[in-house]
């Protein structure tokens, strides 16, 4: 694969001991000090490498343990037990669940895609993106062998408006203005999370990461200081119509965002007045009525629309509805109105795993935003202490920009490879062609009903087993 399209990752150590799912309780009292001790025989040598992190009072052994249970099962005095770690269960919430957080930490540390042995250990299906499967190609359809670089799979996407067709003049050159688009190598834009122990160094690091990835970072205008000024080309500032002077927009910025307001036309005109070449994306909250708003923006010439979900991957006004359905709904609306190719649809809100990128695109997004994962990449535990003014247990604000950037590059690098994996399996060579390809997905609701709705009948006296 051309190196240009590869994201170079290299392991970046953690700054703190991570929290792990289960721990080891190994009592010494009564220990026989066997000559052939189960601790010495540990395949992973975890007992030789143990130590206490006196800051968090975490035993390193908990993180090193690979859960083989050999010591638990072989200690002659049964002095070793596995336990669930209460700190682990306390992390995050139902969406940012502890396993997701840990997985994000690992990817940010190693830059590698998560690989494991044994089959999938999780639930059959779940809400939102968990209720759909992507497809694969087999025998009767061409497939792609992307991940090992045997075939080139493009993840590049365009932001902006692509013309319906090109007009060439007689000498085979393009007539008129060339299409005005921003080309990014992967369908992911970083987005500054709405909370976190974020310092200027953190933001600087994220911006560095965005630049290394060739993508952008969306952040509020007021977070942009002089240091970030020269990174304008990778910033995507959110300009609030009131209180922010348009003049503060970094000179080399290519794109800005504005929030949805009824009078968005005037705001856009103002901005275009100062920066005629600037792309403007309009954020629509993922909420009732967004289809109409999107339609009006598209019709009004806005080429980039950002659907902003909640940080739980849900609608902002209706917790029962998922991002997946919101994206599909807007996408279908625009398709029905024959205006879909006139806009780029960006989606944000609680994307937590690599597969969400592919699934959001299948549902109709062109590109997605990644928000909290770039905070979790910095060892955030989603404890939200920072929102109460309590200290950050992993002192994110003290991390150096370079460390921040490398962690984010690792994470997105790993996601990028996973995107290539699923695209390869689907036989899709171009991320642009994945958008809205619901034919390459399977939805739980449909399949479950088809398979199981009409089977046996429960009758009186029957027995279930």
């Amino acid at each position: 694969m051309p190196s240009k399209y590869m994201i170079h990752t290299k392991p970046v150590p953690n700054r703190f001991q991570p929290v792990s799912k289960s721990g080891i309780i190994a009592w010494e009292e009564g220990c026989l000090k066997c000559a052939v001790c189960v601790k010495k025989r540990c395949v992973y040598n975890v007992y030789d490498r143990r130590g206490i992190d006196s800051h968090h009072m975490i035993e390193s052994i908990d993180n090193l343990c690979m859960n083989c249970y050999s010591c638990v099962q072989n200690c002659p005095k049964e002095l070793i037990h596995k336990s669930l770690n209460p700190e682990f269960n306390a992390m995050g919430d139902s969406h940012w669940s502890p396993p997701i957080i840990v997985r994000l930490w690992n990817q940010s540390q190693t830059g590698k895609i998560p690989v494991s042995g044994a089959g999938y250990p999780g639930p059959f299906s779940g809400p939102g993106f968990d209720s759909m499967w992507t497809d694969m190609s087999e025998i009767v359809r061409p497939t792609r062998d992307g991940i090992h670089g045997r075939e080139y799979i493009s993840t590049a996407v365009d932001l902006g408006k692509t013309p319906e067709h090109l007009i060439f003049n007689g000498s085979d050159t393009l007539e008129g203005e060339p299409p005005s688009i921003i080309d990014i190598p992967l369908p992911i834009i970083l987005k500054m999370p709405s909370f976190g122990a974020i310092s200027t160094n953190t933001i600087k690091g994220w911006a560095m990461g965005a630049r290394r990835l060739g993508t952008l970072i969306a952040l509020p205008m007021k977070k942009i200081d002089s240091v970030l000024e020269d990174r304008g080309d990778c910033l995507m500032p959110l300009v609030l119509p009131k209180g922010t002077s348009v003049g503060n927009i970094p000179k080399n910025a290519k794109i800005i965002e504005i929030p949805w307001t009824e009078g968005w036309q005037e705001v856009v005109e103002d901005i275009k007045g100062c920066f005629p070449n600037l792309f403007v994306s309009v954020r629509i909250p993922m909420a009732e009525g967004m289809e109409e708003k999107a339609l009006s923006l598209a019709r009004g010439g806005i080429s980039i629309i950002h659907l902003e979900g909640s940080l739980m991957s849900r609608f902002m006004d209706n917790n029962a509805r998922n991002l997946k359905d919101g994206i599909r709904s807007v996408h279908i609306k625009l398709v029905e109105e024959n205006i879909r190719d006139g806009v780029t649809l960006l989606a944000s809100g609680g994307l937590a795993m690599a597969e969400h990128v592919a699934k959001a695109i299948i549902c109709g997004a062109d590109t997605v935003f990644v928000d909290f994962p770039i905070l979790i990449a910095l060892e955030c535990r989603m404890c939200r202490r920072c929102t109460k003014g309590l200290s950050c247990p992993v002192q994110i604000d003290t991390a150096s920009p370079n460390w921040v950037a490398s962690r984010v590059v690792n994470l997105i690098g790993a996601w990028h490879n996973q995107l290539i994996e699923v695209m390869g399996a689907m036989g899709i060579r171009d991320a642009r062609r994945l958008r809205g390809e619901v034919g390459r997905a399977m939805f739980f609701d449909d399949m479950d009903r088809t398979a199981f709705e009409s089977m046996g009948q429960v009758e009186e006296g029957c027995e279930l087993e």
Partner: protein
């Protein structure tokens, strides 16, 4: 195994008082087995000493390390890379361990942090009992597997003294009379008549041949 117990902290503090950079050195063998000088106890002692030093506002460096065995030179040599960081070593090894470290590292004082006690068995969780004096001439077969040398307060060889009462030793009712046990055992397998012979004076030269005893095994040597 060899047993030991940690010295009182005051005594340890006094011994290390002249030094500023101290390595607290554990031993993962016998003294770990009797919970006196293993990795865990070493960490606890080091932490305790650091706390004490902080309380007194003393500026000292106290670090810990535990060797697999302090009484084997191949393990002791592992200190070679770090020893120069310290001006004293506080060893939780048994007497043999302390001496092995001291012999190799002549430039720093090696201070014992535990009192080495005896050769014993682990009777129960947290209970160690002296059962062997290392006399070099085992005669347990005569005594039903119970050693009068280690376990009789008077080291008698020809039966219990007049002080034995109810199977207890005259020195302390907590102490079992070894001879009572011996008699019981031999009675059980019908060999009590063995004790009718006068057991001759013991050859103590195997224990105290003069100077340290040695075992040299040519088949084991290089």
């Amino acid at each position: 195994m060899i047993t030991g117990e940690q010295k009182p902290i005051d005594e340890i503090r006094e011994m290390i008082a002249p030094y500023k950079r101290i390595l607290v050195l554990g031993c993962a063998s016998c003294v770990a087995e009797c919970a006196a000088g293993g990795e865990k106890e070493t960490a606890m002692l080091a932490s305790t000493l650091r706390i004490a030093a902080k309380m007194k506002g003393e500026d000292v460096l106290i670090e810990e390390k535990t060797l697999d065995r302090q009484c084997v030179r191949d393990f002791v040599i592992l200190l070679d890379d770090i020893i120069e960081k310290y001006d004293a070593v506080l060893s939780l090894g048994c007497g043999a361990g302390v001496q092995a470290v001291a012999e190799m590292f002549t430039e720093v004082p090696i201070i014992p942090a535990i009192n080495t006690e005896f050769l014993g068995e682990t009777r129960d969780q947290g209970y160690w009992l002296e059962s062997c004096l290392g006399c070099g001439d085992c005669m347990l077969h005569h005594f039903g597997g119970i050693c009068p040398v280690a376990r009789c307060s008077k080291q008698l060889f020809n039966g219990p003294c007049g002080g034995a009462m109810d199977g207890r030793c005259e020195i302390n009712p907590d102490v079992e009379c070894a001879w009572h046990l011996i008699v019981d055992r031999l009675t059980k397998f019908g060999a009590l008549d063995r004790l009718e012979n006068i057991y001759p004076p013991k050859d103590w030269s195997k224990k105290q041949g003069g100077g340290p005893r040695k075992i040299v095994r040519e088949d084991q040597q290089k």
